[in-house]
Amino acid sequence: MSPSRFQLAWPGVLLLMLLLGAWEVAARFVDSANFPGVMAVAIALRNTWSSLWQEMGITLMRAGAGLLLALVTMLPLGIFIGRVRAIGDFIEPLFDLLRPLPPLAIVPLAMLFAGVGSTAKILVIFYSVSFPILLGAVDAVRSAHPMLGNVARSLRLSRREIMLQIDLPAALPQVVVGIRIGVALALLVSVSAEMLLSTDGIGTLIVRAQEQFRIANGLAALAVIALTALAINITYNSSVYTLDALASLKGGGIRKPEAGLEAMYQLRTRGPGLWDQESIAVGWLKSGEIWATPYFSGNVLAMMRDPDLADLRFCVPSEGGYALPMSVTRVVNPSAGDQPERFINHMLGVEAQEAWARIGNARPVNKKARVPDEVAATVPTADKLRNVDWGFFAEQRSAIVDQWNKVVNR
């Protein structure tokens, strides 16, 4: 009577194959790394398999923690609310008020109270899956056959005994339905929360793949999520500065980036593994394994002051350095009165600018600030710095990204 599983599935499998085939053909036809084909995704999947599952593990742990937390709190609460009418009538309107709030809308709130770490994400997951579980339990207790309650009363069971021995088992089937909804929701919210508060996990992996224009890797991560169940930053500034700089070595620039892309590809495939793990560079600087890095950060500044480490200095290559635009601004109607104004003026003042030049090894913005000789010797003035043509980049973004993918990520 009932067809076997295989028979049931073949038309679907056929359509999937057809779609995948069409995708591959279309990808070969378009021939852009912005639109990778099935094969490219499969290769990316194979290359990143272990790290994908490692990140997926983090994501699943969070989803599980949020779900478990919701289960141990909301199941008893639901039974309690369902059984003790007087309290239920009072609490329920509050749930009605909270329930329509989309789970991800509370991400910013969780961030304010719990930061961007695991706690915040687990809180968001907990909030999202609480309602299906809670409402399932309340409904189950309320819709239990009245005879059950009558029997319990005639047996003179206490309220607690009724809840534990009658309501809990009676509610379980409906609670299981709530959990099934909850599992899917927990995974969904977990991935989304990781994308919004990027630290680690598979959601973060997708955002990172995006920032490095590696669409195939992003799709591979997506495939892993599908197997188990971005704030797009397209002006990924440091990549673009590096591209311009490397291109300029052969007389190019952001307008003529071919040589830069080729150099990027060489760095990526033959460089000392700095491509994916920029923080490793700091460790290697410390141990003296590398002598030069394009890396400019507070870490390096701190290391320069570390007496235990070998002599580290910034120097600008003869090809020149880049002007990095920075800005400071105050908000409209600040709650702190004129403090922001004064803070900005202080930062731009002679005293603060001299300190910045001395401690930060940088040229001050304020011309009246005195520059220590050792800083002046290594940091050029703004008129000697190169500028990336951001207007051109914005205009030609997709063409440059296309080229990047063809050459660097090949």
Binding site: V13, I91, P100, A105, I206, A209, Q210, L222
Partner: protein, 256 residues
């Protein structure tokens, strides 16, 4: 006690407790502003047009997405109910769609669709489609055989059976699915605006939180919750002409 009074008391007590906690200084007021602060900030945002503009964007996106989803989901379900082969072909695809978090699609969709209204609406359709399609298909297939046989005895054609028997019988389930899908659409619109937007309620929430405008953030949260209520009421209101017959039947059953 009148249920409305009961409800109002409960909510009122909660708001008073909130106000007291916020003003007591137990929690930092920057992170947990008092109700009155939130109301004032909300009123200011309404006056400046910031809130209404974001709300309008989000509602428009969610409604357009939902409308397309209904056309697509119910339309495909009707065809799949007539052509079982199509249903079996689509089944694995819909299962895969269901298991992918819509938010995870946003970064990749940006490349395919750009930062256009198409992006937001596409994500919303993706998020809501499977629920609408699956509930509609289930309901259309599982119509009482008695009703279908009766229609056949009356000499109804296939099209007449579909329009006069199957679809009306499936309407209550379709609308239940629609209510769930409306929730998914709201989540998807807020999430995609958070991830890729430069306007809309999701962006407003994210932006206010990151710039520590907590009072404004709470006001936006309140509006986000209000959207859920609006959508629910809207669907209940649309349900009446299509599936109201079931309610009157239920009442009949209760009175017996």
């Amino acid at each position: 006690m009148n249920p409305i009074i009961k409800k109002a008391t409960a909510i009122g007590c909660c708001l008073v407790a909130w106000e007291c906690i916020a003003r007591s200084g137990w929690v930092p007021r920057e992170y947990f502003p008092a109700v009155t602060d939130v109301v004032l900030a909300g009123a200011e945002m309404v006056r400046s047009g910031e809130l209404l503009q974001a709300e309008g964007q989000t509602l428009l996106r969610a409604l357009t997405g939902l409308f397309i989803t209904v056309l697509l989901g119910v339309g495909l379900a009707v065809i799949a109910a007539q052509l079982p082969l199509l249903g079996r072909m689509l089944a694995p695809l819909v299962e895969i769609m269901r298991s992918i978090p819509p938010a995870a699609l946003v970064p990749l969709a940006i490349f395919a669709l750009g930062l256009t209204p198409k992006l937001f609406i596409g994500i919303i359709v993706f998020a809501a489609f499977s629920t609408v399609y699956l509930t509609a298909l289930n309901a259309l297939i599982n119509v009482e055989p008695v009703q279908v046989n009766a229609a056949r005895t009356m000499g109804y054609s296939r099209l007449e059976t579909l329009l006069r028997v199957r679809l009306p019988a499936a309407m209550p389930s379709i609308f239940s699915g629609l209510r769930v899908a409306a929730g998914a659409a709201l989540i998807a619109s807020v999430a995609s605006e958070m991830l890729a937007g430069k306007d809309g309620l999701g962006y407003l929430l994210y932006d206010t939180a990151f710039s520590l405008r907590t009072q404004e953030m709470f006001a936006a949260l309140f509006v986000a919750a209000l959207n859920g209520i609006i959508f629910n009421q809207l669907i209940l209101w649309m349900r009446r002409p299509f599936a109201g017959w079931q309610d009157s039947l239920n009442r009949l059953g209760d009175s017996r």
